[in-house]
């Protein structure tokens, strides 16, 4: 395991590389794309478990933080969708270089799945894209988070004095006009180029990705959908600050890459 910085000097990114515990031929590599905001905090433990299991199964794994997020450089207000897409590209290049790979796969969760999908349109070196409860429309995601925040704020005791507006933040993280505008422009249903050889969309309990599934039904795209019984409680106010344990999803994603089932 190596913890390190990569990327340009102006946009240093934090990454943790877990080499394959045993090296299959040909070697397999996975870049983990985490979600945005509070979902990043919630899913960290589960993604760490996934990383460890994939590594033990013989997969090289790079887990990283976007600019302005996690341990990467930059304040939270400096993050942008455009930068984060670039960060995914940097992570792909870094893993290929570290593990000596010609191509990698991506596992993305929520907005991380969206970023992974968007980052692959100009690349030919992503074999498989696994999207776990992807965000299809950025505007809808922002609305969901805002509604969740409002519900959570209603459970808070009344403040004793004036309270600043919560318009420019989403559950603990800045969400200014610029980032909001970028989210509004994100729509996977308008993306026409899907280059990974295999695309797997995972929907957990209560999530529906039918629109995306239909959009991905194209002659030049190999797309699969899976439903996994696992209640991630993405929209539950009481779960906003709870760590997600999603072993069912972790086990399934691990099996997708085991014994080079995904090529």
């Amino acid at each position: 395991m190596q913890a390190f910085h990569f990327g340009s000097a102006r946009h240093r990114l934090f990454g943790i590389y877990h080499p394959a515990a045993r090296v299959p031929r040909p070697p397999v590599g996975v870049v983990i794309c985490p979600p945005f905001g509070h979902e990043y905090i919630r899913t960290h433990r589960t993604l760490r478990t996934l990383t460890t299991r994939l590594s033990a199964s013989g997969v090289h794994v790079l887990k990283f933080d976007y600019f302005g997020c996690g341990d990467s450089a930059g304040g939270a207000e400096e993050g942008s969708v455009a930068q984060w897409q670039s960060d995914v590209a940097s992570a792909i290049d870094e893993l290929k270089d570290m593990a000596g790979l010609q191509a990698v796969s991506i596992v993305g969760v929520r907005f991380g799945a969206t970023l992974g999908a968007m980052a692959t349109t100009t690349r030919k070196d992503v074999r498989t894209l696994v999207m776990w409860d992807p965000v299809v429309r950025g505007s809808a995601h922002a609305e969901e988070l805002r509604r969740l925040q409002n519900e959570w704020l209603r459970t808070r005791p009344k403040a004793s004095g004036p309270v600043p507006s919560a318009d420019a933040e989403l559950i603990g993280f800045p969400f200014g006009a610029s980032l909001s505008g970028e989210f509004n422009a994100v729509d996977l249903l308008t993306q026409t180029k899907w280059t990974p050889r295999r695309i797997i969309t995972i929907a957990t309990t209560g999530m529906d990705h039918e629109e995306l599934r239909q959009h991905l039904t194209k002659p030049n795209v190999t797309s699969e959908s899976e439903q996994i019984l696992c209640d991630c409680q993405w929209f539950e106010p009481a779960s906003v600050h709870l760590q997600l344990l999603a072993n069912e999803v972790v086990v399934r994603i691990e099996s997708l890459f085991a014994h080079q089932a995904v090529s």
Binding site: M1, Q2, A3, F4, H5, R12, F14, I16, H38, I41, H44, R45, R48, C69, G70, D71, A73, A76, W152, R156, P157, A159, S160, V163, P164, A166, A168, E169, I171, G172, F173, P174, H241, Q243
Partner: protein, 299 residues
């Protein structure tokens, strides 16, 4: 990467200009949340402290965050002590620190205090929503607020009487008994036994005797343990007179300082306390801090 079977992961933040002391700060995991802290608070704090001249290490205890699973059989409490001592050694080697300020939220606060009682190199602790002791004033406020809520719920139809008056159906019953602080402590902190108030007074007194400074911060989410500004002073009047303990009460803030203005207030409170207690820069940009991720061996 430091050797051995189990490995610890962390990020060292080094200031562009050091404060004129050999103190470094260590952030300890808040519950299961990894070393960036709730809402990335530990990252924000580390970079703010660097502007004051303080190096820091935020890292994951074994079985937390990115660190490996603990395999040495130590309990959570004993293991945390071992891991934090290792963090101190890392800072000693990397930046020459020989004194430390520990900081943590929730279980991080408990661990910080526990390590401080065991290791004289710890000269300061910032304990956010850590252990607290209920006083007469706490109980009075608790029951007054309950009475207030009963009246409000009656008038708005949210309790049995109110619903009966309005002819509304009943929801599922929940217990209205006041939860015991000891039970909540056991639920949160496992094998760490909550000391009695007298024991806590002795321990805090010993720390103050050797010159340690302690900053307790309590939020509104901690109401089961703490519900008014003077509670700590009322629980430990003699220790508070000695001036080494500061207490802040932020009833509007939640446990993880989710609102951005609460995060800013926390950064300011911690900065003010650290510079008042140990000196340091003015908090202006004196150059970019350097951050170094690393992996190290646990013993």
């Amino acid at each position: 990467m430091f050797g051995g079977e189990s490995r610890l992961v962390g990020v060292l933040t080094e200031p562009a200009e050091r404060a004129s002391n050999n103190i470094a700060c260590i952030f300890i995991n808040a519950g299961l949340i990894h070393h960036v802290g709730p809402n990335r608070l530990y990252v924000q704090l580390a970079r703010r402290l660097a502007r004051l001249g303080y190096p820091s290490l935020r890292f994951d205890l074994l079985s937390r965050g990115d660190s490996d699973t603990r395999r040495d059989g130590l309990s959570f409490v004993a293991g945390s002590l071992t891991d934090v001592r290792l963090a101190m050694e890392v800072l000693q080697r990397a930046v020459g620190a020989d004194r430390f300020v520990l900081m943590g939220i929730c279980s991080g606060a408990v661990n910080s205090l526990h390590v401080a009682t065991q290791d004289p190199r710890v000269v300061g602790v910032i304990a956010i929503d850590g252990p607290a002791y209920q006083t007469t004033g706490y109980h009075v406020r608790y029951y007054l607020r309950r009475i207030g809520r009963v009246w409000t719920n009656t008038l708005t139809g949210r309790n049995k009487i109110g619903r009966w008056l309005r002819g509304a159906p009943a929801p599922v019953e929940r217990s209205s008994a006041q939860p015991r602080a000891e039970d909540e402590f056991a639920y949160l902190y496992g094998d760490l036994v909550m000391p009695s108030r007298d024991e806590a007074a002795q321990v805090l007194g010993a720390m103050v005797d050797r010159g340690a400074q302690i900053f307790f911060i309590f939020t509104g989410s901690w109401a089961i343990f703490y519900n008014y500004a003077g509670q700590f002073r009322d629980a430990f009047p003699e220790i508070m007179k000695r001036g080494a303990i500061r207490v802040a009460y932020a009833p509007d803030a939640d446990h993880t300082f989710t609102r951005l203005h609460h995060q800013q207030r926390l950064l300011d409170m911690v900065s003010d306390w650290l510079t008042a207690s140990f000196g340091g820069g003015r908090g202006e940009e004196t150059g970019n801090a350097v951050e170094r991720p690393g992996v190290g061996a646990a013993r």
